[in-house]
């Protein structure tokens, strides 16, 4: 039977070609849709978390809900054996007043390690944060009328209600996308911040630039891991709504694909009416014809699967290196805020596998039609 199926496939090569084309095209489209969706979400998250929150942070339990110097934790508590130890960059954060000699403005003071913090990494230009110097967000610098080289005073409350006060030269100015942060952000070297707030070797937490499969296992009892979903609720909501809408589009794509495949299968079956009838008239059992059709479907599917994954995967890889660009006002707005204005396609191989199997499932489901067709076929009419 396998032999007959194999010969059937090559007896009419153009028909087979169209079937393979239909199925592999469907797989390619399904892969591309998902890769673009995921790529868009990934790039938006990366752009929007690199400013302040980080993609994830390790902190004392409950710190995000109730921040403050009193809830900081010892720098040495994060065990070097923890899987993400190397990627985690420590920070000390608190509010204090920034004074230029004439006026004071409340600022969010962040002490960080300039060589490992994702915030610094996010800006192509390496920020200059030497020990004892400070970096101002652009909005705050214009409100304070402060330029690089000016000296500012930070005044506030330190650890255990001590007085925190220090004098720092402005060493750099930073453009921040979020308007509120742009009016508040002040960056210091971690050591200087610890000295300012008299916390000793304590930190508010550790920042990570990715949140993939981040787990709390291996962390001491008092620490927890939170990610951007907790920290930027509007983004979580926006992406959630978008993924539901994407899901709808995906279902519609499957519908369109199913319809295209159904059309192809129907026409192929109709074309072969005579052939099947002849086989029936010669006394071939319906069971055998059906198993022949199934084998043909399987062979065509496997070839199409390989081609579909190859083409879809290749385009995804290309689209990752040569990303799609947003157009018009959207692109300008994103660029103005320092957010990525392109969509690099996702290259996760799981997408290729999941999507191709989804399409394959549809095609196998549809191959019920030729089976049903053969089952009700009457041999007598054939001539």
């Amino acid at each position: 039977m396998l032999q007959i199926a194999w010969r059937n496939i090559w007896r009419n090569p153009s028909r087979t070609l169209f079937a393979i084309l239909a199925l592999s095209g469907a797989i390619t489209f399904a892969i591309l849709l998902r890769a673009t969706q995921k790529g868009q979400h990934d790039s938006l998250v990366k752009g929007l978390t690199s400013g302040f929150t980080g993609a994830a942070r390790i902190q004392k339990k409950g710190y995000w809900e109730e921040p403050g110097l009193e809830h900081s934790i010892s720098e040495t508590i994060l065990p070097p054996s923890y899987h993400y130890f190397k990627k985690a960059s420590p920070r000390l954060e608190s509010y204090a007043l920034v004074n230029n000699g004439e006026q004071s403005i409340p600022g969010l003071i962040i002490g960080l390690k300039p060589d490992s913090d994702p915030l610094v990494e996010a800006y192509a230009k390496k920020l200059k944060i030497p020990p004892g110097g400070l970096v101002l967000a652009e909005g705050l610098s214009s409100a304070l009328n402060a330029n690089i080289g000016d000296t500012l005073i930070i005044l506030g409350q330190g650890y255990h209600a001590t007085q925190a006060a220090g004098k720092y030269p402005v060493t750099d100015i930073l453009k921040v996308s979020a308007p509120i942060l742009n009016r508040q952000l002040v960056l210091l070297d971690l050591g200087s911040a610890q000295e300012l707030f008299a916390t000793g070797k304590m930190v508010s937490g550790w920042i990570l630039s990715e949140d993939d499969h981040l787990e709390a296992s291996g962390l001491p009892e008092e620490l927890e891991v939170i990610n951007w979903r907790t920290m930027i609720p509007w983004l979580e909501q926006a992406l959630f709504a978008d993924s539901i809408a994407s899901l709808v589009v995906q279902v519609m794509l499957y519908l369109v694909i199913a319809f295209g495949l159904f059309g192809t299968i129907m026409m192929m079956t109709a074309e072969r009416k005579r052939e099947f009838q002849t086989m029936l008239s010669f006394g071939c059992m319906r069971k055998k014809i059906i198993s022949m059709i199934c084998m043909e479907t399987l062979i065509i599917s496997l070839i199409a699967l390989a081609i579909g994954i190859l083409v879809g995967g290749a385009i995804s890889l290309y689209g990752h290196e040569h990303p799609l660009k947003y157009i018009g006002e959207t692109a300008r707005g994103l660029e103005n805020m320092g957010l990525p204005s392109v969509i690099p396609l996702a290259t996760d191989p799981w997408i290729w596998i999941r999507q191709s199997f989804a399409v394959l499932l549809i095609s196998l489901g549809l191959s019920v039609y030729p089976i049903w067709y053969v089952l009700r076929l009457k041999p007598i009419e054939s001539r």
Partner: protein, 403 residues
């Protein structure tokens, strides 16, 4: 002649024609419906942001959006206010005091935006609707303040607690005043609860005690953000900065725009898949008609005529499919727009994201048009391809009719 031939060809094989018609109808329907569901999911979120957070249009002095300082107030704001009120397309509007400050208790302090309300009954932004504990501001109280639920939790305060508000006066002196929490609000606009507190302009003024603190903002509602209206107001007041909601909440605004553009892209991808399917099954159908086409050629029909015949067939199909597809989309969207699409059963966790699990699809007529034109263009392109491919010389068998 060609029209008659095409018409008869279509009826000769009803089954094949029906498949193509159905394909285009499904394409139009799927594109419109998917887009309407996307709008239904996303627009309420944006409306929340506009209704409670940003308004449709904001007017500030030029420097304000950088400084957020009381000193950057709008000069002669009452006359600006009256003039904008008479402009066409302007709905409700309100004057507010805006600045940033630090809210603190004995143990904790958080930086936030201070929003000073001048007219408690204006309520252009419907914050009073959001009060879940206590009451909205009133003239009778002394130094009342409204905090968001998350901020109250962070500061561990409740209705009746006193908090200290630090802010900078227009003369750049730091001022502190004690306020009593009058109410707590819960906002569907994520992040607002932390970032905005509401108090009375009058109280900021009396704490400052050193003359007027000015007014920094006029906030305007209209029917949908109208880019022309923003431009008109800007033209009328060249010395002020007029911004739409997108600039007021730029991260959210441009993310929303990026996602909308992406959604259009996905739907275009879906329609391309449809075009691919149509081309594919169309070519297969014409494979069957090899003999017919060869015969027509042998009878003296040239390539252009044959292509015209095939294209006319496709045009007839599109002419029939377009109105049906549009009607079907319009019916689906209108009915779902009233009944709502219930996602509760899908258990996707709408509740956890603070979203209602009923989605009301909606689609602007303009978008119906854009999407349908796109489906038509793609199906035309696929028929052109079919026509071109099947009229090639190589496609024809040597003999017109098999013996």
């Amino acid at each position: 002649m060609i029209l008659a031939l095409a018409w008869r060809n279509l009826w000769r094989n009803k089954f094949r024609t029906l498949i193509t018609i159905m394909g285009i109808i499904i394409g139009i329907w799927a594109a419109n419906t998917a887009m309407s569901i996307s709008y239904g999911l996303n627009e309420p979120r944006i409306e929340n942001a506009i209704q409670f957070g940003t308004g449709d249009i904001q007017v500030h002095s030029n420097n304000f959006r950088q400084s957020f300082s009381l000193k950057d107030s709008i000069p002669e704001i009452q006359s600006v206010f009256s003039e904008i009120r008479t402009m066409e397309g302007v709905g409700n509007l309100e004057v507010r005091t805006r600045s940033i400050g630090l809210i603190s208790t004995l143990t904790n302090g958080v930086g936030t935006e201070l929003v000073g309300i001048q007219d408690m009954n204006a309520n252009v932004l419907e914050i009073p609707k959001l009060i879940t504990d206590g009451e909205w501001l009133s003239e009778k109280d002394k130094n009342p303040i409204i905090l968001g639920q998350s901020l109250a939790e962070r500061l561990k305060v409740k209705v009746g607690t006193k908090v200290v508000v630090h802010f900078q006066g227009p003369d750049e002196q730091l001022i502190a005043g004690a306020f009593k929490i009058k109410g707590i609000y819960t906002s569907p606009f994520p992040g607002q609860e932390i970032s905005q507190v509401f108090l009375l302009s009058r109280d900021l003024e009396s704490i400052h005690s050193n003359g007027s603190i000015g007014r920094q903002e006029i906030i305007i509602r209209n029917e949908g953000t109208d880019q022309n209206l923003i431009q008109n107001i800007q033209n009328a007041f060249p010395n002020l900065t007029v911004t739409g909601w997108k600039e007021a909440a730029p991260e959210m605004g441009y993310t929303a725009m990026a996602l909308e553009q992406g959604m259009f892209g996905f739907i275009i991808l879906m329609v391309l898949a449809l075009g691919f399917g149509l081309a594919n099954s169309g070519l297969m159908a014409l494979l069957e008609r090899k003999n017919e086409l060869s015969m027509l050629r042998n009878m003296g029909m040239d390539r252009i005529q044959r292509m015209r015949m095939i294209l006319t067939e496709q045009m007839l199909i599109i002419l029939f499919a377009l109105p049906v597809g549009l009607l079907l989309s319009w019916l689906t969207i209108s009915i779902l727009g009233i009944t709502g699409l219930d996602f509760t059963a899908a258990a996707l966790g709408f509740k956890a994201f603070g979203m209602p699990s009923y989605v009301y699809p909606r689609l602007a007529p303009r978008v119906y048009g854009i999407l349908s034109i796109f489906v038509i263009l793609i199906s035309l392109a696929s028929s052109l391809f079919i026509g071109f491919w099947t009229t090639r010389k190589a496609f024809m068998p040597q003999k017109g009719i098999h013996g």
